[in-house]
Symmetry: C2
Subunit: 584 residues, 2 copies
C-alpha cells in the first residue's frame, strides 16, 4: 500500500523494532535506514528500506526522498542534513524525469535533536527556562588548560563532582566522578579530547523518568504536552536495568511534581513525538532534571502492556503523523508493572532460557511478557526485556534475568487495604481481622488516627488514602464512633466501619454512630467487634478487581462449609453428649 504515508526512520535498533511492531496493526508504513537484518527490519518488510548507516548523509537523503516525515530512534544523527531536508528539501525525481526539491518535516524537530546532542547546552537551555537542574560549568577545550578548569570546578562545587562528556554518550557512560586533585590527570586522560563539563555532585535518592507526548499543529504551534505516569528507573554499572511503575514509595504529590517538570521541559522543545525526561529525586524532596531523550525510551517500554491503548510507540507514531487523538488521557490499564532489561549473558542461548522463564513466571495474577529484540547476544548488550504486569500483588515477582550479576527484587508493595483505629485500645478488636488479611496475603497498612484527638492527622491520612493505591479502608471506633464516617467523608473509596464495644451501652452507641451516616456518605458497617467480617468484606471487594482474591474467597467459603458439615456428621454419629464431652 504505498499510497499510505511513509514514516522514514533513522536507526533500526530495538526502539525502531517496537515502533514497527506498533505501526503494523495501525496501518502506518515505515521505511528504515539501518543495516540489513537490524532488529527493526526483521519486523518490517517492504521495498522502502535503505540499507546503510543512519550517520551517512547520502543515505539519510535517500530515505527522505522516500518518506513523508522523518523521525529518529537515536539522537546521535547528523542534524545538518536533517536541517537541510526540512528547510531546503531533498532532490526527488518525478515521473517525468525532472528533479525537484521536496521538503520533508522532521519530528522531533532537528533543533531539538541538535540541542539534546550536547548535554551541557541542553541543560544550560533548560536552566535558563527555569527548569531545576544540577549546577554545571564548561571545562576548557582539549589543548587548553583543563587542569585549571578542573581546579575552578573544585572551588565551585567541592569534591566529589562529576565530569561529563557533553556529546555522544548516554546511559551514564562517559562520566567520571572527581574525588580529589589526584583524579585530575586520570580524568583528563580517560575522558580524552571530547568537550567536557563539570556538574555539582547530586546525592539523589532515586531516579525517576516521565514520558511526555508533544503535539503540534501543522503550522508548528504547540498543542499539548501530556505526561505518562512517573516511573522509577534503576541503573547498574551505568546501564538501565529495571523500571518500576509506579515508583516505590514516592508520594503522589511528588509524582505530580515530576510530571509537571517533565511537561515544562518538553514544552520548551520543538517538534512532535514522545520525549523521555530523566530526573533525580533528591533526599530533600527536590526533583531536578538530568537529561532528555527525544524519542521512545527504555523507561517507557512498560507502556506496551500497561498503557496498551497508547504505548509510547503508538504515541510516537500518532504524534508525528499529527494523528494523536484529541481528548486522549493516559490512563494505565494495569495497577503495576516491572520492566527488566535482558542483558546478554555468557551464553548466546540465554534468550531461550529467558523465554522459558517468562512463560513459567506467568500465573493468574501476574503476566510476564517477553520482548526479544532479535539481536546477536553479546555480554552486556540489551538483547530484550521482560515486563511483568501485576494484577494483584507483585510480591511474587521474582525475575531472574541474565544480567551481568544475578539480581532478585522484592519490591515493597503498595498496600491495598488501610486499617485505622481511633485508639490503640481498639487494636485487640482488630487483631482477628488483621490475621485474616495476612491469611489472604493482602498487603495492608495499620494506623492510629483519632477523629477527636487528632482530627487534622485523620483528615490528612484520609486524603493520602484517596490518592494512593489503597482500594478499601477499614476503620474501627467505639462510643461516639466518628472515625469511620469521617474518613468516608474525605475519600471516594469504600470504607468499612467496625463498631467497637465501649464501656457502656454494649456497643450499640458505636454501631449507630457508624451505620447511621447521612444520605450521601455511605459507611459499610459490620457487626459489633467483628473485625473478621470487616477483613472478609474488604477481600470480597478486592475480589471484584482481582480474580485471585475472588478465588481465595470461594475456597475460604467452601472450607467453612466443609468444617460445619464435618461437625454435623460427628454430632449426629457421636450423639450430643459425647460431642460436648470431646469439645471440653
Amino acid at each position: 500500500m504505498t499510497t499510505k504515508p511513509v514514516i522514514g526512520l533513522l536507526g533500526g535498533g530495538q526502539l525502531g523494532r517496537m515502533l514497527c511492531e506498533s505501526a503494523g496493526p495501525l496501518g502506518y508504513q515505515i521505511a528504515i535506514l539501518d543495516e540489513e537484518n537490524s532488529p527493526a527490519k526483521q519486523a518490517n518488510h517492504n521495498d522502502l528500506h535503505v540499507t546503510g548507516s543512519f550517520k551517512d548523509p547520502a543515505k539519510i537523503k535517500l530515505l527522505a526522498s522516500r518518506s513523508d516525515v522523518l523521525t529518529v530512534e537515536i539522537e546521535h544523527v547528523d542534524t545538518q542534513v536533517l536541517e537541510e531536508i526540512a528547510t531546503v528539501g531533498v532532490d526527488v525525481t518525478n515521473a517525468d524525469g525532472a528533479v525537484t526539491k521536496k521538503k520533508v518535516p522532521v519530528h522531533p524537530d532537528w533543533k531539538t535533536i541538535r540541542l539534546i546532542q550536547d548535554k551541557y547546552e541542553q541543560k544550560e537551555y533548560l536552566g535558563k527556562k527555569g527548569i531545576p537542574i544540577a549546577e554545571q560549568m564548561a571545562i576548557a577545550d582539549a589543548g587548553a588548560d583543563r587542569k585549571a578548569s578542573l581546579q575552578e570546578a573544585t572551588t565551585k562545587y567541592g569534591f566529589p563532582y562529576m565530569l561529563k562528556g557533553a556529546k555522544g554518550s548516554y546511559d551514564g557512560r562517559g562520566n567520571f566522578k572527581v574525588r580529589s586533585p589526584e583524579d585530575f590527570e586520570t580524568a583528563i586522560q580517560q575522558m580524552g579530547d571530547q568537550p567536557l563539563y563539570a556538574e555539582r555532585w547530586v546525592p539523589f535518592e532515586m531516579e525517576l523518568a516521565v514520558m511526555v507526548v508533544r503535539t503540534e499543529d501543522d503550522a508548528g504551534k504547540l498543542q499539548k504536552v501530556m505526561p505518562y505516569p512517573v516511573v522509577e528507573t534503576i541503573h547498574e554499572d551505568s546501564v538501565c536495568t529495571k523500571v518500576f511503575f509506579p515508583p516505590r514509595n514516592v508520594a503522589d504529590d511528588m509524582q505530580a511534581r515530576a510530571q509537571k517538570i517533565a511537561c515544562d521541559v518538553v514544552s520548551h522543545l520543538w517538534g512532535r513525538g514522545v520525549f523521555a525526561v530523566e530526573m533525580f529525586l533528591l533526599k530533600d524532596g527536590q526533583v531536578i532534571v538530568n537529561e532528555i531523550a527525544p524519542r521512545p525510551h527504555n523507561s517507557g517500554h512498560y507502556t506496551i502492556e500497561a498503557v496498551p491503548q497508547m504505548s509510547q510507540y503508538k504515541a510516537q507514531l500518532c504524534a508525528i503523523m499529527n494523528d494523536f487523538p484529541k481528548d486522549f488521557e493516559v490512563v494505565p490499564r494495569v495497577p503495576s508493572a516491572l520492566m527488566v532489561n535482558i542483558l546478554g549473558g555468557a551464553k548466546p542461548t540465554s534468550h531461550g532460557e529467558l523465554a522459558e522463564l517468562s512463560r513459567k513466571l506467568s500465573n493468574r495474577s501476574m503476566d510476564v511478557y517477553l520482548h526479544d529484540y532479535g539481536k546477536q547476544s553479546k555480554p552486556g548488550r540489551k538483547i530484550g526485556h521482560v515486563t511483568a504486569i501485576g494484577y494483584s500483588s507483585i510480591s511474587k515477582l521474582l525475575v531472574k534475568p541474565h544480567l551481568r550479576g544475578q539480581h532478585r527484587y522484592h519490591p515493597r508493595l503498595p498496600p491495598l487495604v488501610a486499617v485505622t483505629m481511633g485508639s490503640d485500645s481498639d487494636l485487640p478488636v482488630l487483631t482477628a481481622g488483621l490475621k485474616i488479611l495476612d491469611q489472604f496475603n493482602v498487603p495492608y497498612e495499620v494506623r492510629i488516627t483519632s477523629a477527636h484527638r487528632t482530627p487534622h492527622h485523620m483528615m490528612k491520612f484520609a486524603a493520602e488514602m484517596a490518592q494512593g493505591g489503597v482500594k478499601v479502608i477499614i476503620a474501627a471506633a467505639g462510643g461516639a464512633a466518628h472515625l469511620p464516617g469521617m474518613v468516608a467523608s474525605e475519600v471516594h473509596l469504600p470504607v468499612i466501619g467496625v463498631p467497637v464495644k465501649a464501656s457502656v451501652l454494649d456497643g450499640v452507641d458505636s454501631l449507630y454512630s457508624i451505620v447511621q451516616m447521612p444520605r450521601g456518605i455511605p459507611c459499610a458497617t459490620v457487626g459489633i467487634g467483628n473485625s473478621t467480617n470487616a477483613a472478609l468484606l474488604a477481600i470480597r471487594i478486592l475480589g471484584t478487581t482481582y480474580p485471585e482474591y475472588a478465588a481465595q474467597m470461594k475456597a475460604y467459603q467452601t472450607k467453612m462449609k466443609d468444617e460445619v458439615l464435618e461437625k454435623d456428621l460427628k454430632l449426629s454419629s457421636d450423639g450430643w453428649q459425647k460431642y460436648l464431652e470431646a469439645k471440653k
Copy 2:
C-alpha cells in the same frame, strides 16, 4: 539468529500476519510460504521466506527443508505432501553436499487437516464420537442422479434443508437452502460438480465459537485441551462480521456446556495448536457443532487484547513448539470485547478513515484497537478489524465500520450491580438508591427474592450472581431481615444490606438482623432505610475497579460540598430568619 528453531508457515494472510506479530517479541522465527508482499511477509523479514503458492508441493517441500516444524494458517493445503514430509521426510542438502531425508513434524497433524477439509467426513467422524451435530446425508456424486438424492433428503428432513459443498468452502460460502422441489434444478446447477451433502435445517438462536488449545507431548500423546471463553459470532451475507465477548445473554451453564463440547471435539483430533469450534445454540438450549478450523480463527482475534498474556496467536506458537506453559489458565484481563471485521468498502482509502474512527472512539472507559492487514482493499474483502475493549460499560460502543451495509450495535449490558428485596413493599425504600445507580450510569438488575417465601428462588438467584459479571449485590429487607445475610452466605461478592423499617421496633430489628452476621460471612450494612448510601457504597466499590466510577464519585462529593458551602454562605449573609422564610 538462525540458531533459533524455525516455524514454517503455509499461507501468509492476516492470520499469518498476526502470528508473526506475536512471534517477533517472543523470539520465535517464522518462514512464510506465500506470495511476495502478502500480509504476513510485511511483518516478518528474514532470508527464510519461500515465495510461491502454499498449494505448490515443491514449494511446501522447500519450506519444510528450512523448518523445524510446519503449521498452517489455512486448511486448504495439500495434505499428501504434508503426510510425506511428516512420515517419509524431505530432502535436505547437508554442508558436505550429501542429500538426506529430514522428517518435519506438522501441527496440527496432517490427519486433522485432511479430515477437516471434508466437512461431511468431519461431522460424520464427530457424530460417531458422540459430539452433537446436525443430521446429514451424502448426496450422490455429480453425474449420478442428484435429483433422486435431493428427494431422499427431502423425505428425511422435510423443507427447508441445507445443501452444502463438502470441500473448499468456508464462512458459510457454498451453501444452498433448499426450500421446495422447484429449487432442485437451481441447486444442482449452482453447486456444480463438487461433492455435496444435505443437512437438516437447524433453526439456531445464536452462533457461538470457542477456541481450544491442544497440547501433546513429543510422543504425540494428548496432554491437555484448554478452552478460551465462549464468544458470540455474527455472520452477515455468509461472512463473519462481529464477535462479542462475552456472548449476549447466554447463561453461564450454557457457556460452560459449549466449552465442554468444544474441548471434547478437539480431544478427538490430532496434533498441537489452537482450534476454533463453531457451534449453533438452538432455541431449546441445545448446542450442536457446526464446523472446526484447525488454526487461529476470526472468532479469536479479540484474544489479542482480551487475553493479552496468551492470545490465540501466542497459544498457537507456544503449543506447536511444545512450549505451552504447564499450569496456564485462560483468564481474560478485560471484562468485555467487541470485534468488528473491516470489509473493503467502495473506496480504497477506507482504512484511513477507519484508523481515524478508531482513534476517535477511544476514551477513558473504552479502548479501540485497529488491526490493519496491509491488504489492497476490495469490496467485501477482510482488510482489517477493530477490537473495542470495554473497561466499564460497553453501552457507548457505537462502531461504524465500512461494512457492506452500515450497522450499529447496542449490545445489552451485563449488569454490574444486582438489587434485590424480600418483598415488593421494600421497593419504595430502594427507589432513591436505584435513582442514584441511574444517575451514575451503572447497569443493574432488580429482583424480588424473599428469603422466607422463596428460599430456593433466592438461593438460585444468589448462585447465578456469583457466576456472572455482577460485582456488587444490594439487598433490602425488614423485620427478621435475613435476605442480605443469606445472599452473602451464597456468594463471594460484597453484599450491601439495607435495613427496612418494619411496622414495629423502628427498623432496629432489621438493622440487627443484617449487621450482626456471624464471623465468616460479612454483610456491608448501611443506615436504616438509606438505600441512597447503599447505591453510593456500591459505586465506591465499582470505583476500585473502574476509574470512571471513582471519578464520578469524586465529582459527586465535590458537588455535595459545594452545595452545603453555598447554603452556609446564604445563611450567614441572609440571617436565619430570612433563610427559613425562603425555604418555606
